[in-house]
Symmetry: C2
Subunit: 217 residues, 2 copies
Amino acid sequence: MKRTNVSNNVIRRLPRYLRKLDDLASKGEERISSDKLGRQMGLTPSQIRQDFSCFGEFGQQGYGYNIDFLRREIGQILGTYRGYSAILVGAGNLGTALVQNFDFIIEGYAFLGAFDIKPEVIGTQIDGFPIYDVKELRSFVREHKVDIAILTVPRHVAQELTDTLAEAGIRAIWNFTNTELDVGDSGILVENIHFSDSLLVLTYHLAQLDDREKHDA
Amino acid sequence: MKRTNVSNNVIRRLPRYLRKLDDLASKGEERISSDKLGRQMGLTPSQIRQDFSCFGEFGQQGYGYNIDFLRREIGQILGTYRGYSAILVGAGNLGTALVQNFDFIIEGYAFLGAFDIKPEVIGTQIDGFPIYDVKELRSFVREHKVDIAILTVPRHVAQELTDTLAEAGIRAIWNFTNTELDVGDSGILVENIHFSDSLLVLTYHLAQLDDREKHDA
């Protein structure tokens, strides 16, 4: 499988393809042409062929793509079948919502549990997973060689916990704290979720509609 | 202000610029060159100049950009100062986390309250904002001409509530339900948050590191 020199834009489109293909599969579709897939996703057919060509050839000329095959291939490329282990750091509202709404195990991750500082939640469960004392975070990550930490703690403790995770050898942080984490030269991968970006895009389009209406009036 | 034919890629970069500029301002910086801004954001200086040129000229040759001016201009373009009204539909863990972690009023929105179906939360508050009975949703949206609904309900009721919001004349939906909403020809703007996309990108990079290590070993 070719993996080298794939642009970030292509990588960021892969999960979108996967969602679309899951959707098509759940509707009982078996094949789709790049034309049709493009129309449904707002991409040109040549863009789609180009994206997929980064990883080898998935389609046959004039015959379209086999949806199940494509799903499995994209899943392979994204690494969803590798069983990476994940923990939640911060069992507040956001963290709880994430664990309740994402079935990490079905998606191919091994979710091992959550960590929090509040005595009243330590020892309880989220969706059947244990909540441990954050004091045990370092030794747990070391012992279980945890791959991914989902960081949903308040902003002012985000860096401190990042340092703890780094010392313990975490490999990746999925960062919901809306603050930039300093991971030094540890090589830890960080993926930030910025909710507000998406709200601002929505607001931009509202403002544009308003300006157009004003202009047309 | 020019607004026409701005590409989606440029629009999606504007919130990133805003975050970066806020960050620079909070560190006491007053000016920045497109070179330096580009390096810090992983963009080329010409990309940055091109992005900003979509909306007119913000910088002076050889003198860089005034950070405060640029922040205000981008805020204007994004419509953050227009005081759009917003409500939360679904006062569960995710909705509560959003209201607690986002200061809608400071960000320029008028947050009016939340709606839920659970008797035990109706009449209580989130962060000082009232939680109303979802039965009142339609009349409330009509009466207050609400602009934006933040949809954080379970998947299986997402479409039903979208229909209610559409009938009541909502203008935009910020959709956290991880399901595609059908808004027909209502013209309602929808912006979807897909948490899993970001986790998959992280997983891709982990898998790539693993393959590289295996290859080098």
